[in-house]
Symmetry: D3
C-alpha cells in the first residue's frame, strides 16, 4: 500500500490542499502505523486563543519537510511507518468538557486500531483527552512533557477543573499517567504561588527546569528522559512554549528566556529507547506567529522528529 | 461631580492607561448615568476567536474620540451624561454558560443601579446575558440589531443552545425581548438553510436585509427603527460585521458586501426617539484587524454615537 | 451521489483540511457538473508575486460561505450542481510557458469531461491557459472580463509574449476568444501608453471603464454583459483588482479608486442569461492581504456567486 | 532634456531604487517645472507617529503608476511637465521648529527656482513650512485643504504653537494664506470644543464638512473649490485622513466615516482652473498601513492626480 | 495596605484595563516602595519611532507575569515591596527638551517621596531626565547600562545636544552620573567613528562589548557590575536593543548579533548587592514587534526581574 | 573622489532614497573597487516567493549600518574601498533562464571592470549567473557557501535544470566553480533523498553540516574555510536560511534549528586570508519578515561584514 507523501521535487509544495507533510488522507485505519490528527480546540486557553487554527497552520508549513531524517541514520520515515493524515476531531468551541470528550473519541478510534495518534493542538488541555484515549488501550502511561509551565494547577477561573493549566494533575488523579515514570522538562519563569513547581513534585513527577536541563546537558537530559520512562508505554507532549518566544512567537502563553529551536531539536534527536504510543505538539496560535509562520514550521519539525523517533524505534 | 474625560489637547492620547474615551474608572455607580463595560468573552465564537481582547482594543482606539458630537447639535456628551468606564466582567473562558452568568451579573449591577450599560464585546452571545440583566430591570425589551447575520439559529455544534449564533432566538424564548417591537437590520450573504431569514420573521422580528435597507433609504431606515421600538425600553446591539469587511476586517465572521462606515454612521446619527436602556458593540477580534486597528476605531465611534443618542434623548 | 459540503452548523469551519466551501475532493469527474481547480501560478506576475498561495488562501476563507444563495431565489447551489474540489494544477514556477501548458492540461481534463472548470488563481496569465482548454471543447468563447486593467498589451519585459499583461490579446490572436461577443468591464487608472484602452477596442472587445460602468448603472451593466455574450459559450474572468484596494488589498497590481465589494457583488448577482462554460477568480496574493484575509473572503464569495449563476442557469 | 520615468513595460517596477513614479533624481533645478520632495518629519504628530517613513513608502508604491492620465484627455504628464524627484529635506527629529525651518529652506530652493514643489509628508505641520516658502515667492496663497480635521487649533500640549493641529491658523496669522480665497473640505467626526469648526470660519476659511460635500455633489464641490481660489496662486494640501480609514488605514489620526478613494479621486480629477503653485500629500504612516500598503498607493495616486492637474493647466 | 496584583488564577489576564503586572494604580505615594511609571516619549528617536506606545504595550504583556520569582529564593515581590502603577508622565511630542522636563518632574515626584521609580520608555533620552530627578534626591549616581550602543555621542542632527544618542555623555557633564562607578555592557556593531567606544572610556565609564561579556562569562559579568557600583545609589537602564533583534524586533535601532533573552535574563538574575534607586527599560516600539509582541513581553520580564532584585535586596 | 556614505549623525537615516549603506549610486565603474548590485529575481524559487523585493528591503535596513568595523581593527570600509550602489539588474520575471542571462550580463559589467560585485538577491539561482560572470574574468572559482541546503540537486519540477535548488551542481558542471577549493557550510534538516548531502560530496565539495560546524568550533570553521579556498579567487555566497528562522524569518525556505545571528557573524568576522572576487547575500523575502524587518537588517549586516573582509584583505 502506498502511503508516501507527494514528492516536492516533482510537484511544488504550494500545490494541493495541504495535509501533514503532504501525506495522503487516512482512509483505512487498519493499514496504518501512525496518523496525524488535528485537535483544534482552544476552549481551555486561559489567555491567548486561536489554537483552533493550529492544526491547519502546522499542515501548511509541514509541506516544507522531507521524508528522510539524517539525525537517525537517514531513515525514510514513511518507508518504515505507514502514516496518513486523519483530519481533525470535531470539537465544540466554548464547551471545554465536550471538546475533551470529542477529542478522546477521535483519538481512541486511532489508538484502539493500533495506530499511534500524533496530535496537533490545540491548547494543552487536549492532552488530557488524548491520554484518556491512549490509556484506555495501553494502561497508565509514562508522560514526557516539554513545557515551560507545569500545567498541574488544581483549578482555574471559577474553580473549573478542566483547562490548559490543569491536565497533568487530572491525569495523575485519573490514573492514566503514572508519575513515577513521568517527567516534566523546561519549566521556567515567574510563579503564581511558591508551590507552582513543588506541586508537580508532590504529584510524583520528576521535574527539570530550563536551567536544570542546561546544567545537566542536553544529551544527558535525553538519556534521563528515556531512563525515567523505563520502557513503559509513553506519551510525549511538546508544548511549543518550551522554546523561547523568539523561536515560537505564535503560542498561547509565551515565556521569555527559553532554549533555542536548535537546542530543542538536539534534545528530541537524542531521544532513544522510548516506547512511544502517542504524542502531540500543542499551543500553536498562528495569529500570533508573524508572516514567516516560524512557530508552525518548528511545530511541524518537532512532530516530524517524533515520527522519526517512532520509525527509528520500530526499525530496530 | 467631575466625570469629564482627560483633555487630549492638554495630555497626549497615548499617555495613561487607556479607558474608554479617557473617561475615569467607575467608582460610585450611584453617580452615573451610563457606564462602559467590557465583556471579553469569545466562548460563543463558532469560527474566529480573540474577541476577548476586543474591549481593550476598543478602549485603546477610543482615545482618538472627542466629547462633542456635531451630528446632534454639538452636544457635549459628558456634560449631559455622567459616564465612566466600569472595567470588564470577569469571564470563564471555555465555559459559555458560566460566561453568560458572569456577564449578566456584571451588567445587572449597572442596570439595577439606574446606569445604562454600554457593553463592548466579546462575541455576540454576550448580548443574551446583557438582555437578561436589563430585562430584569425594565421588562421585555425592544431590540434593535445591526448585523449581517440573524443569530436566531436554534442550536449549534453538538446541539448547544448557547453560542454567538443563537442569542436572539433564546431572547424571544426567554421573554426578555419582545419581537413585536424589535428589528434586525443588515442581513446579507449566503445561507445555511433557506430558513435562515424566515426563522427571524417566524419569531416575530421585523427584518431588513442590507439590500432592503438601501432600497428604503438610510434616513427612512432610521425612522422605521424608531417606529418599531415605539418608545419601549430598547436595547441596541451593533455587530461589527454589519459593515463591509473593508471597514471592519477585525471581526469574527466577516461577510462581504456590506455598507460602508459612513453609511453605518449616517444611520446611527439619524436615529431619534429611542428609549435606549442598554447597548453594545460586539464581535471585534483585534488580531484580525491589521496595524491600523480600524475595526476598533469604528467600534469605538459606534459606541460614541450610541452614547450621543442617549445624551441627546436625555437632553430633550 | 452525495457531493454536499460539510455542514458548518454541525462541524466547526476550522475543523478539517479546507477545501473550497468544504466540498469533497473530486474523485470521479463523470459525476460532476462543476469543479473548483486551483491554478497556483504567479510566473506571469510583473510586479507583486505570491499568487501561488492564492488557491489555498481562498479555500481557507471559503469555509465561511454557506450553500444557499438568497440572491437567486434561495437556490441550494450544491443540490443543483454536483460540485467538488479538484485540487491544483501542478505548475512549474519560473517557467511561464510550461505553467500555461500544465494548467491547460488540468483544465482540459475537466472541460472535456463536461465539468465546468472554476479556476482560482494565480496571476491573470492563467486565464489564457484556461481559455485554450475550454475553447478546445466549446470553440471560440465569449469572454466577460472584470478587471481594472485590459491585459491586452502585446509584450512585456524582454519582448515576452506571455505574462499577466498579455492574455487577452493572445486569446484573440489564437482565435479562442471571439471579441465580438466579449466585454471588458472596470478599466481605470493611469496608462502606459494612450493606446492602453484603445488597444482593446482595436482587438474588437467592448470596453467599459469603471466610470462608464457607474454612468450606465450596475443593473444595466449586467444586462449589457449578457447581451454582449448573446448566449455563446462564455468564460467569466474576475481579476480581484476590479474592486478598490480597500476591499482587496491582497492583489498583484492594486489600482486605487474602484468599486466596492457590494457594488461588485450586486453586478454579479444581477447577471442572467449567460451560458457560462468556465470561470475564474485571479490575482489574489494572500501575503498582501492583512490578517483579516478579506481579499480571499471576497474572492471566495465571487466564486460562490459564479457557481450560483451557473446553478441558476442550469435550474431554469 | 530627458526626464521621462523608467518604462515599466521594459524594466520591472521592482528593479532599481524607487524614486517617485520612477522619475530621475533632480540634478539641475533650472531644467524643471515641478519636483517631488520628501518632507519626512513627524515631530508635529500628536498621536500616531512614523510619517517620517512616509515619503519612501509613497515612492515605493508610486512605481505602480503610469505617466498618462486618461481623466485629463490622455495627457502624458511627463511630456508636458519636466519633473524629477528632489529627494528629502533633512529634518531634525524631536525639534519641531527646526524641522519647519529645514523644510522651508528645502522647499524655497525649489519654489524660488520656478519649480512647483510637490511635497510628500510627513505630519501636517510640514505644510506650514511649505506655505512659508511658497508665499515668499508668490505672496499670500489661496489654500485648498482636503482634510477630516481643520488643523486650526491655537495651541497643543504645553501651549505649543507648532504642531500638526495648528498650521492653518498660523498660516493665516502669518499672512501667508489668504483665507478669503481658501477652503477646507472634508471635516468630520467628534470635536474637542464646539468651536472646532467655527474657529476655521472665524479665521475666514470657507468650510465644507464631509456631509456638506456630499450634499453639494462632488463635481459641484470641485467647481466651488476653483471658484474660491479665483485664479490666485494656490497651494493644495491633501491630508490622507480625508478618506475613510478603510481606504487609508496608514494615517496618523484616522477618522471613521469618510469618502471612498473613488470619491476622493473623482473630486481631484474634476478640479479645473486652479493656479497651483505648490501641493502636498501628508500624514502617511506606513507602519499602520498593512502589507498591501494601500494608503501609500492612494497617496501616490493623489500626487499623480495633482501633477496631472498641473500639467493640464500648463498645457492649456 | 493591599497592593497585591489581580490574581490571574481567579480573573483572566485579558479582563480589565491592563496596568503593569495587574498592580493597582498609585493613589498615595507615601504608601509605596516602588512605582512603575510610563515615560512615553520618542522625540529623541533618531531612526524608528513609536516608543510613545511602549509603556502601554509593556503593560499589556506584563499581565502574563506572576508575582513570585523563583530565581531569587521564591520571593513574592509584592509581599516584600509595596508597588503600584503610577501612570505616565505627560510629554510634549516634538519638543525634546520639554519632554525631558516633564519626565524629570514626574520621576522626581516619586523619587523625592522615597518611591523607587521604575520607568518604561520611551526612547533612551528619557533616562537623562530620570537621572536628573533621581540624582536630585540621591546625588551623583552609579549607572549600569545594558545597551548595544554607548549613547555617549556629543551631538546629533543640527548639533542638537539632547537625543537618544547623547544621554550618557550629558549625564557625566551634568554630574548626575559618576562614571567611576558606572559601567556599559553589551556594545556591538558597526561604528560611526573609531571613537564610538573610546568616547565612553574617555568619559570614565567602564565598557564591556557583547563579545567581552561572553569572554568574561555571564555570572562573572554580574559580579563585575556589582563591584563597579560599589554600593553607591545606582540606576539601572536596560535598552532593549541589548538583546539580539530576534528576541526584541520591536526596538528603535536594532543591532544584529546580540545575546539571547535567556542570556540577558541570566545576567539580570545573577545581579546581587546593588543599591538600586531607580531603573528603566527603554526603546520598545511596539509597531515593529509583530503580532506575538515578544519585545514587550521580554521588556516586562526585564522590569519584573529588576523589581525582584530590588525586593531581594530590601528583604536582606 | 568622494564615495563616502551620507553621515547618519548629520542627516537622519530615514531621509533620502535609500541606497546600500547610503552609498552614492555608481556612475563611473572605473573609479570603484566594489559595488553593490541588486539581483531581484525570484523566478527560481520553488516555494515562497517575493525575493524580487529583497534588494530594496536590504537597502532600506542597511541605512542603520555605520562605516567602521570594530571587528577588523576599526577599519573604515569606505576609506579603504571605493564603493557604490550599482542599482539592480533588469530581470524578466517568469523566465528563469532569461533572468540568469540578464544577471550575468550586469555582474559581468562590474567584474570585467575590476569591480568586485556584491550581489543582493534574489533566490539562490542568481548565484549561478554571478559565478558565470565572475568566472569569465577570474577562471574557475573557489566557492564558500553558507546555506542550510546544498542546492546541488540535478533537476526540479518538470526536469528543469535551473532553479534555486540546482545552481551549485550546474556550477561544477560548467567548470566555473572548482569544487576542490570549495566548501558548503551549514546544511541541516530533513532530506528528500538519502543522497541530498552525499551528492555534494560526490561533486567534490567539502561539506559541513550545522552540527559538524559546531563540533569543530566557529573559529576553527573560519580557518578551515580559508584553508579550503587556498588563496584562489573566491566567491562567497550567503543564503539567509543559514541562520535559524528566528533570526531570519523572511526567507524562501526556512529550516528550523540553525545558528544564531551572533554565531553567524562571529564566523564571518573570523574569516581571514580569503581572496574574495565576488559575493552575495540571497533568499530574502521581505513579505515574510515581520514589521521589524530583522532578516533584511541581518542580510545588510552580513554584506557589510563581507565588504569589511574585502577591505581588510585589501588593506593588508
Amino acid at each position: 500500500m502506498s502511503v508516501l507523501p507527494t514528492d516536492s521535487l516533482e510537484t511544488p509544495r504550494f500545490c494541493g490542499v495541504p495535509t501533514f507533510m503532504r501525506l495522503p488522507m487516512a482512509t483505512d485505519l487498519s493499514q496504518l502505523d501512525a496518523a496525524i490528527i488535528g485537535l483544534p480546540s482552544d476552549s481551555g486557553a486561559p489567555f491567548r486563543t486561536g489554537a483552533r487554527f493550529g492544526p491547519n497552520a502546522v499542515r501548511a508549513m509541514s509541506t516544507m519537510l522531507r521524508p528522510i531524517n539524517p539525525y537517525r541514520n537517514d531513515i525514510n520515515v514513511f518507508d518504515t511507518l505507514r502514516c496518513a493524515d486523519a483530519g481533525d476531531a470535531p470539537v465544540v468551541p466554548g464547551y471545554e468538557e465536550e471538546c475533551l470528550a470529542r477529542i478522546e473519541q477521535a483519538v481512541y478510534a486511532l489508538s484502539s486500531a493500533g495506530v499511534v495518534p500524533c496530535g496537533i493542538g490545540g491548547d494543552h488541555s487536549i492532552t488530557l483527552a488524548e491520554l484518556r484515549a491512549v490509556a484506555k488501550v495501553h494502561g497508565p502511561l509514562a508522560l514526557v512533557q516539554f513545557d515551560s509551565h507545569s500545567d498541574t494547577w488544581d483549578k482555574y477561573f471559577a474553580d473549573k477543573r478542566y483547562s490548559a493549566g490543569t491536565p497533568f494533575r487530572r491525569a495523575v488523579e485519573e490514573d492514566i499517567v503514572d508519575p513515577a515514570y513521568s517527567i516534566q522538562v523546561g519549566l521556567r519563569g515567574s510563579l503564581f504561588r511558591t508551590s507552582d513547581i513543588t506541586q508537580s513534585l508532590d504529584l510524583g513527577y520528576e521535574v527539570f527546569t530550563t536551567d536544570q536541563m542546561f546544567e545537566l546537558g542536553i544529551k544527558q537530559m535525553a538519556q534521563r528522559i528515556a531512563e525515567r520512562t523505563a520502557g513503559r508505554p509513553t506519551f510525549i507532549t511538546f508544548d511549543m512554549d518550551f522554546v523561547d518566544p523568539a523561536f515560537a512567537p505564535g503560542v498561547q502563553t509565551p515565556e521569555a528566556g527559553g532554549p533555542s529551536a536548535r537546542e530543542a531539536l538536539l534534545l528530541l534527536r537524542a531521544l532513544k529507547g522510548i516506547n512511544m504510543v502517542g504524542c502531540d505538539v500543542t499551543e500553536i496560535s498562528p495569529m500570533y506567529d508573524g508572516p514567516g509562520q516560524i512557530t508552525s514550521l518548528l511545530g511541524a519539525t518537532v512532530m516530524a522528529e517524533l515520527l522519526a523517533l517512532l520509525a527509528s524505534e520500530r526499525a530496530v
